[in-house]
């Protein structure tokens, strides 16, 4: 039974969420393109958005790259480059991770507060807008708590358990036993994270997939031409 629970949580659930992400993204971009937008509420409130949005986005994007580094890059690679485990945890995880996490947290606190207390913003929010903000807030808190709780679990190295499992997800052979020794707080963060992944494409979050980087390389004025009549 315990096994079934683990399989459900660490195999079926993550895959379900990833599938949902892929499926939703395809559906949204192929059939419902016209609905994809950043759902800006800047027109309704500016000051809190300025601080909240800037700080949150910088934090969350840094945190995203932090996750890529921490999870996807095996310990052996960093060791190969002569980065010791202590150095990694101290600088990489604790300092940079915490920094990014705190930025994201501060930003999200402001944004969530704004979303629920500013009358104009609140009434124009869809329920998914509210859920997204709360879910991100909770996930960020759990993530920060995990990082900061590192010293409490001196024997636990997520790069030997959690990260390995996460990479295995990509090779389609996750070993759920690796997750058994992981502290609860990490587990909760992972579950929330995958939940967000799952509903990502159905909410305003899709906007993150549409960063218009091409703009930098494009000429200013865009002309579009119909096929010419002969």
């Amino acid at each position: 039974m315990a096994d079934f629970g683990s399989i459900l949580l660490w195999v079926i659930f993550p895959y379900a969420m990833m599938l949902s992400f892929i499926f939703g993204t395809i559906v949204r971009f192929v059939w419902f393109r016209a609905g994809i937008t950043a759902v800006s509420s800047e027109m309704l409130e500016k000051r809190k958005l300025m601080i909240g949005s800037l700080v949150f986005h910088v934090g969350i994007i840094l945190a995203f790259f932090g996750h890529v580094l921490g999870i996807l890059i095996p310990k052996s690679w960093t060791e190969f480059f002569g980065i010791s485990n202590e150095m990694y945890h101290l600088f990489g995880s604790l300092m940079m991770g915490t920094g990014a996490g705190l930025l994201a947290l501060a930003g999200m606190m402001i944004l969530t507060y704004r979303r629920f207390t500013n009358a104009r913003v609140f009434v124009t929010s869809s329920w998914t807008d509210l859920v997204v903000d709360v879910a991100l807030l909770i996930t960020i808190i759990l993530g920060l708590a995990s990082t900061l709780s590192g010293p409490l679990f001196p024997k636990f190295d997520y790069r030997e358990t959690l990260s390995v499992w996460a990479r295995q997800l990509f090779y389609l052979s996750p070993n759920w036993h690796l997750m058994s020794g992981v502290p609860v707080i990490y587990k909760l963060h992972v579950i929330c994270g995958f939940l967000i992944f799952g509903f990502f494409p159905y909410t305003r979050l899709v906007h993150a997939l549409t960063l218009p980087w091409q703009y930098i390389f494009r000429r200013y004025i865009v002309y579009r031409r119909k096929p010419k009549a002969d």
Binding site: A34, L44, K46, M50, W213, I221, R224
Partner: protein, 464 residues
């Protein structure tokens, strides 16, 4: 208030004399976080908070006092104190406060600005300029905004707009709007389905003043950028004028045909009322050329503030007095120059002289007075051109105002299947359906399309 030093729309020249969006270069937007928060964007209160009235309370139970319907926010439903709205300063309302905020008034002394005796005003209907060097298009990081190659109409692709809102602030005329239900940008479409059929836009068609004209202009697209980089802002009007090509020049016609421009288009360009007014007679001017947008809706400066002043002063006996009048009326002339020519006063004056001369000539002609026709040459008119200009401006026949070629879209796409594709399917709560519901009901009740048309289609606009 239009103040692009504050909202940072349009273009400016950077230190190298090259065009750059006033809001900052490209990298600075996508790379440096402006995309997360657009610092130049106006807030709702800079426009106004839409309201409605609680009309239902007027039908409530009997009370001591007469009932009252108060303004409630359409967004939050809360009772509002109205402090701003569209046309809030209509007809010089609140002028002591609002005149101060008008940057076009900056150079005019304060006491003249708000003096009853010197009061002048004009209406300036503003719409999207469908600029040649459109900063809204240049600002859009998603590439959702584009200029149509075939007719220059600037549109927002709703499928590609992601709501980054750079266009709203990039447009110095503030003619891109944010739909707070779809969270996307929307703007004037120049009624392109009508234009494609050779029909004028609805605003032009229904203008009771018959002041709107639509015609074809041929221009050299490759020279737009360098024209917009003209350093002196009072020369921008002439730089734009220089872009327009003479549709009667055989060399131009040959080149146009070679570039795939249809004969119908060229023929319309030759009869274009816009070409006549802007290039030949030079009585029409672009709105705020100093934004370096190369705007394509041009304005004829009004003679009325000057005429009003002048008609009280012996104008019947001495009609020629209007010319010194134009020189004396510094305030309206400077104001017009700051609106329409980036400060080029002589260009405005010569247009006003020409309009005044045409008026004097026609007045003499219709009232059977003598007129020394040699005077017409002073402003570059002849008896013939004065009369035909008068016909174009004052009689303003439909066929003279609108000379629009058909696009013959049917040759390039299946017109049948394109028909009726509104493009707003996904909008929550802003589809046309509620208004058109009654029409569908009529159809279900067995009314013929002709009947429904007769009842609901009036002057080119659906009404039901």
């Amino acid at each position: 208030m239009e103040d692009e030093e504050h909202y940072r729309g349009g273009w400016e020249l950077n230190s190298k004399g090259k065009l750059q969006l006033k809001a900052g270069n490209k990298l600075n937007k996508v790379g440096l976080g402006k995309i997360f928060y657009n610092p130049n964007m106006p807030e709702l209160d800079d426009y106004y908070e839409p309201w409605t009235y609680d009309y239902q309370t007027l039908f409530g139970p009997e009370k001591k006092h007469q009932p009252v319907a108060r303004a409630k926010s359409q967004i939050t439903g809360q009772t509002m104190t109205l402090t701003t709205g569209p046309n809030w300063d209509d007809d010089l309302a609140g002028s002591p406060e609002y005149v101060k905020q008008d940057p076009n008034m900056d150079k005019i002394e304060t006491d003249i600005k708000t003096n009853f005796e010197q009061a002048f005003m004009m209406y300036l209907p503003r719409l999207c300029e469908h600029c040649l060097n459109a900063p809204c298009v240049a600002s859009c990081p998603s590439g959702a905004m584009y200029k149509r190659d075939e007719d220059g109409i600037v549109l927002v692709d709703q499928e590609r707009c992601r709501g980054w809102r750079m266009c709203m602030t990039g447009c110095p005329y503030k003619k891109v709007y944010f739909n707070w239900k779809t969270n996307k940008a929307e703007k004037c479409t120049f009624c392109y389905p009508r234009i494609e059929e050779g029909e004028p836009t609805v605003c032009a068609e229904t203008c009771v003043g018959r002041i709107r004209y639509i015609g074809v202009m041929l221009y050299d697209a490759d020279r737009v950028e360098s024209a917009a980089e003209t350093p002196d802002q009072s020369k921008l009007y002439e730089a734009q004028l220089d872009l327009f090509l003479d549709p009667n020049d055989p060399k131009i016609i040959e080149q146009a045909l070679a570039d795939g421009i249809s004969e119908e288009m060229i023929e319309c360009a030759q009869r274009s009322p816009i070409y006549r007014m802007a290039v030949k007679e030079k009585i029409a001017f672009p709105l705020h050329p100093e934004y370096r947008t190369m705007p394509m809706v041009w304005y004829i400066p009004p003679l009325s503030p000057i005429m009003n002043y002048f008609e009280g002063r012996d104008s019947i006996n001495n009609p020629d007095m209007i010319f010194p009048g134009i020189d004396e009326m510094r305030v309206p002339v400077d104001y017009l120059a700051s609106l329409l020519t980036g400060g080029n006063v002589p260009a405005i004056k010569s247009a006003l002289y020409k309009l005044a001369m045409m008026r004097l000539y026609m007045r003499a002609k219709t009232s059977g007075r003598d007129f020394e026709t040699a005077k017409l040459a002073r402003v570059g008119l002849t008896e013939n051109t004065a009369t035909s200009l008068y016909r174009l401006l004052a009689i303003a026949k439909y066929e003279d105002r609108f000379v629009i070629p058909k696009s013959h879209k049917e040759k390039v796409e299946d017109a049948q299947s394109e028909q009726g594709t509104l493009g707003y399917d996904e909008c929550k709560g802003c589809s046309l359906a509620p208004q058109h519901g009654s029409m569908f009901k009529k159809a279900e009740a067995g009314e013929s399309t002709n009947q429904i048309y007769a009842e609901s289609f009036y002057g080119g606009i659906w009404r039901d």
